[in-house]
């Protein structure tokens, strides 16, 4: 089985993000593999452990994003493709075009896995657009994946305590979310081994020759409004509860 896993190197959620010039950000902060993508990598490895095959990790990112591929290789993927860009803020449709070409050049996919969303741009759309581009069916919010001969049977979390059981023809694109598995931490010997695994580097321009036109363009960034100093209640429980209920009434919250 040839499994492609698309990963993204994102600023650590705990890192402070500083806005630069109103429409960029300082990307020198600590980066990590997008947490949702870890579920996709782990799932690929578990499938390989059961059925054998090859796992190819694909990322689109600046030079430092190689670290995301190395992480996936240390978890157990076989090789990587790094689509190199100078500018990180590339829109979904351009990213998808590049991923599609990279995947098709590397051979026919039996399965494409990725996180259901990234934690930086929070787009939640790449699986769908990539599926459409590759001509494959897509299921996302996937918390369980069973592969049968020609089909994948997935459980997709619909929220509000509902789960959809979906069958889709293979090959397909899967958007992974928490609940699918418990991603392993790379072990030291595997981290060392991963350094020798091949990573192919391709410039975005070589994959998508015509100058990419961002169809979704970023106009501006601003800091999300922070709350001003909280009003704190402390002391006798009966009194604080009464104060709290007054606030609820006053603000028409109950």
């Amino acid at each position: 089985m040839k499994i492609f896993v698309c990963v993204k190197y994102v600023p650590d959620t705990a890192a402070y993000v500083s806005i630069v010039d109103g429409n960029g950000f300082d990307d020198s902060v600590k980066h990590v593999v997008n947490p949702y993508d870890e579920f996709a990598i782990e799932e690929a490895i578990q499938i390989k452990e059961r059925t054998d095959g090859e796992i190819i990790v694909v990322t689109l990112g600046k030079a430092h994003a190689t670290a995301a591929i190395r992480f996936a290789l240390a978890m157990g993927a076989d090789r990587g493709i790094h689509i190199k860009v100078d500018e990180i803020l590339v829109d979904t449709m351009t990213t998808v075009e590049a991923l599609k070409i990279a995947i098709e050049q590397a051979g026919a996919a039996d399965l494409v896995l990725m996180g259901k969303q990234s934690v930086d741009s929070e787009g939640m759309q790449t699986p769908y657009y990539l599926g459409e581009a590759l001509g494959l069916h897509v299921a996302t919010d996937v918390i369980d994946l069973v592969l049968e001969k020609d089909q994948a049977i997935v459980q997709s979390d619909l929220g509000n305590n509902e789960i959809a059981e979906i069958e889709l023809d293979l090959p397909c694109v899967i958007g992974a979310t928490k609940g699918l598995n418990e991603p392993r931490s790379p072990k030291l010997p595997n981290i060392i081994k991963a350094k020798k695994k091949p990573i192919e580097e391709i410039a975005l321009e070589d994959l998508v020759p015509s100058k990419p036109v961002n169809r979704t363009s970023l106009i501006s960034f601003e800091y999300a409004p922070e709350r001003s100093q909280a009003i704190l209640f402390e002391g006798d429980t009966a009194v604080v509860v009464e104060q709290l209920v007054e606030v609820f009434k006053e603000k028409a919250l109950i």
Binding site: A14, V119, L158, N161, E162, A164, C172, K178, T216, E242
Partner: protein, 323 residues
């Protein structure tokens, strides 16, 4: 007057409340022709409700041949056909799992850009505001297309009634679709009978690590039933096995935007705030006065949740009985 299609989500034969806010957003300054899109034959049942919020046309999109709601790709194709038939290029819906799925499949099918989880939309210049970097920043995006397709985060737009003089028109549309069976929903299983949906609840009470056990969630459940609230959990509570992942609020869990969010025994990690930062009022109950959560909430109670929450439940009950 430009026409805006609004995908309406119906559950248990009722329109989900969170739809009304996005209808209000679509109505804007009353210059838009707001068209409600319903994927079954229930338009007549919902006509009065939708009219109240300013919907001028209701389009029922159904198929005689297949169950569209169980065929995600065909449903999107049917929606694309309806957009052509009724000539609208602006499409909005809830950024719920179901809404996101339909909107993005539709946009991908049309090969046009789209944005999900928007907290603000401008139908004139095709821009949206959305959370970026796990809620730390808000980004403004422009979609360069004649199409404008976006999913809106539930509860971010207040619903305003604006009754029309004229009655809403009901139109039925049955596109010809061919079932290729490439993808099919076999069944939808309700994992529990919880009545209030976390993602779209207007009040949420959540427990963190300090709740100490799964059994102790009953303290929150009792308070929630008086408040009509949904119950959530922090990642720490989920990872400790006190609550199922379906209840997790925050990164790798659900994003919520209620009017009132009560965080009980939650330390206030940035990953948790990523999922509830846009709540209108955040109340924290924590016995640690130095807890991070107190720096980011509107009201804080420094006290033991095991004392404060039951007392709050009782006080709310008394108030209800008096009313």
């Amino acid at each position: 007057m430009s026409r805006i299609g609004v995908v309406i989500e119906i559950r248990d034969n009722e329109i989900k409340d969170s739809n009304f806010g996005i209808i209000t957003a679509a109505c804007g300054d009353d210059t838009h022709d707001v068209c409600a899109l319903i994927f079954d034959n229930s338009a007549e049942d919902h006509k009065e409700t939708l009219e109240k919020y300013g919907v001028k046309t209701i389009i029922e999109i159904t198929s005689d041949q297949v169950a569209l709601n169980m065929l995600p790709d065909l449903k999107a194709i049917a929606l694309v056909d309806a957009m052509n038939e009724f000539d609208f290029k602006t499409l909005i819906g809830l950024s719920s799992p179901t809404g996101r799925d339909l909107l993005t499949r539709t946009a991908a099918r049309l090969n046009v850009p789209s944005v999900l989880d928007c907290i603000g939309v401008d139908f004139t210049d095709h821009t949206v505001m959305k959370s970026h970097f796990s809620g730390k920043t808000i980004a403004k995006f422009k979609l360069a297309s004649e199409y404008f397709i976006c999913g809106i985060r539930p509860n971010t737009h207040e619903a305003i009634e604006r009754p029309l003089k004229a009655e809403a028109q009901i139109v039925s549309y049955s596109p010809i679709v061919h079932d290729k069976k490439g993808i099919r929903v076999r069944k939808i299983v309700k994992s529990s009978s919880k009545s209030v949906d976390l993602s779209e609840a207007s009040t949420i009470i959540s427990g963190g690590r300090a709740i100490k056990s799964a059994e102790n969630f009953k303290i929150l459940n009792e308070c929630a039933s008086v408040l009509g609230a949904a119950v959530g959990a922090s990642r720490a509570a989920v990872d400790s096995g006190y609550a199922p992942h379906s209840m997790q609020v925050g990164q790798t869990g659900k994003t919520v935007s209620p009017k009132l969010y009560i965080a009980c025994g939650i330390s206030g990690a940035i990953q948790h705030f990523a999922g509830m930062k846009t709540s209108k009022f955040i109340v924290a109950i924590n016995k640690d006065k130095d807890a991070q959560v107190f720096e980011k909430c509107d009201y804080g109670v420094i006290g033991d949740l095991f004392e404060v929450v039951p007392a709050l439940t009782e006080a709310l009950k008394t108030m209800k009985n008096e009313a």
